[in-house]
Symmetry: C2
């Protein structure tokens, strides 16, 4: 048997899991499909991470990346994927295939899957989803599109390059929705919309910002840190309403729907419409579940056993899953579950060794 732990995915959860395992003394092999570490915050060029204090995402991610790249006990494979995995706790054989096609076979004792989520594609299927006009209207963006603009400190209306007078967010695009898909709540989009609204108002004080929501799910401390702050300090307008359609009228976008608080139809002109797209299991998460024969839970994420009392153990002994590979997750969720899985991946090997010594 070997003490080495294989971590699949180099986003926040995978980085934290790798550092945790190595800090406990076990060697780590970290496999990341991109040519760089950092996951979505780096790949999608996030602007700010949020806590009570906004923090530059690229800089903050270095806090997770540097301990991993500096650690000789962690071997990082970039531009690589795990293409086969056989065996059992204490003795798995994994095949790591690089983009260039070279393969390497490694022996590992346990596995942590940190392959995360992807953002819902608002134009993914035809028909029903087209009313958002994401692929037709240049001024219809997603949260990730806007995040990149905020990172560049250049929020303009894509169709004409001008500063927008009015920007709105439409919440729950690809969340809580049986028609468009994905009936779960993606957990973080309300907080992210509040964060981005604040950032727009700081960057462009003359731009009016609206958030159309069903329930504003700024749970925990996000309530006052993001939701109240957006309203009170930055005059962001929150409208409980259901947007149903975005159409083009002249130079403007028109959002149609219902203002449910005022009980009346709503038709408002905007320069930019931001679709608050939800989370789905990433292709990597689905691929790993398939390759490892791991059952999915009802929403299509990797299933963990034991409900809330065991957040990272999959049905296969020695294989753990963390962060957004097991469901919608905020950054705290990802960091905590990654740390917990590091503990479990190491202790499972320790227990196996003890029972081998005891001759069980």
């Amino acid at each position: 048997m070997t003490n080495t732990v294989l971590v699949i995915g180099g986003g926040p959860a995978g980085l934290e899991a790798s550092r945790g395992v190595s800090d406990l003394g076990n060697p780590v092999i970290l496999v990341e499909k991109n040519a760089f570490l950092g996951g979505n915050p780096i790949a999608e060029r996030y602007a700010m991470l949020t806590g009570p204090v906004f923090r530059d995402a690229e800089e903050a991610m270095q806090d997770l990346i540097k301990p991993v790249t500096d650690d000789s006990n962690i071997k990082v494979h970039l531009s690589s994927t795990v293409t086969a995995l056989d065996g059992e706790l204490g003795n798995f054989t994994a095949t790591i295939t690089s983009e260039s096609g070279t393969t390497e076979s490694v022996t590992v004792g346990s596995v942590i899957i940190a392959t995360g989520f992807k953002h819902f594609d608002p134009g993914y299927t035809s028909g029903a989803q087209q009313h958002w006009g994401y692929y037709e209207q240049p001024d219809v963006l997603t949260l990730t599109d806007l995040e990149k603009m905020l990172k560049d400190k250049n929020v303009v209306k894509p169709s004409n390059g001008k500063v927008p007078e009015r920007v709105c967010f439409i919440q729950c695009v690809g969340s809580r929705d049986r028609q468009l898909g994905n009936q779960w709540c993606s957990k973080v989009c309300c907080g992210i919309a509040c964060k981005q609204a604040i950032e727009i108002r700081e960057l462009l004080p003359d731009t009016r910002v609206f958030i159309f929501y069903i329930d504003l799910r700024a749970y925990g401390f996000w309530e006052d840190e993001l939701y109240w702050r957006a309203q009170e300090q930055h005059n962001v307008n929150f409208v409980k309403g259901v947007a149903t359609e975005v159409i083009k009228r002249g130079d403007k976008l028109v959002v149609k729907g219902e203002d449910t608080t005022m009980s009346r139809p709503m038709e408002v002109e905007m320069d930019i419409v931001v679709l608050s797209v939800g989370m789905e299991p990433s292709q990597g998460t689905l691929d790993m579940a398939n390759m490892l024969h791991l059952p999915l839970e009802d929403h299509g994420y990797i299933k963990t056993i034991g409900g809330p009392l065991n957040t990272t153990q999959t049905e296969r002994p020695g294989v753990f899953a963390v962060g957004a590979a097991v469901g919608p997750a905020d950054l705290e969720d990802s960091i905590s579950s990654a740390g917990a899985a590091a503990m479990k991946a190491v202790s499972a090997l320790r227990k196996l060794k003890l029972s081998a010594v005891a001759g069980d």
Copy 2:
């Protein structure tokens, strides 16, 4: 230096942290103020824990308790508190004082604080809070009062012992509120109210159940597992509204407020009113922060450093805090952060030992 880890608090987070540390090979001293393990789910006699499947809370908690009590590597001190702690990472001296007054001094290498939360007391201060009538009206309950009734499968109107015809929940009592106190969102109360509403409807099919909410924060999978299920399978009535007063009229309670969706005043008769009380740091959490000179964050919980990228490290090296000691937390949050802290409490000692060996 010693490898022993002190865990303070024997609720879900403290139990998971204890098991995690011991599974990594380090001895654990677990100190619990009650005469039993299990924390609030046992002390407050919770009925069901929720996941996709409801599970008897007492039985589920045994999954966490039994590995701890069966483990000779974990020494449990019941009916005890930590009354002094001095020293530093690798060499803390803790005084454990039992209810009977005997004290014991122990040496530990690192510390995990899992002292959790308490439920908001809806009659705690005079004046403003009295309009809920919690201490005046026997038929005004809290979530925890109702939880005990559900556990006993005996939900009756306390004033006359009869089966209630109409029950309502008032959300955000002691949450999101500058007047009554606690401006944060307590995270779990929306989900718990949905869960209890389902349980009432299963137990008493003729009882009508209403939930008055500001935003229904059934985040993640709770959206369809609890919120939709409550509406579609159990006909629970959700009303977006602000309740402002509960008064007695004859045999009934009258809830006054505003139905914000219908934009009209609301005055509805109920047999039982359930106040969905929020979370506050427990006295134990405040005591430990004070004794250990740990700074509190803006809401009064123990402050962790590093924002979302470090969920358990306090400002004092070697001291970690988990679960609801650091903010409102659901069971998943508590279990994940406890596991992460177990990893960190052990790896901090390992690193210290390595640097001592290296002569740093």
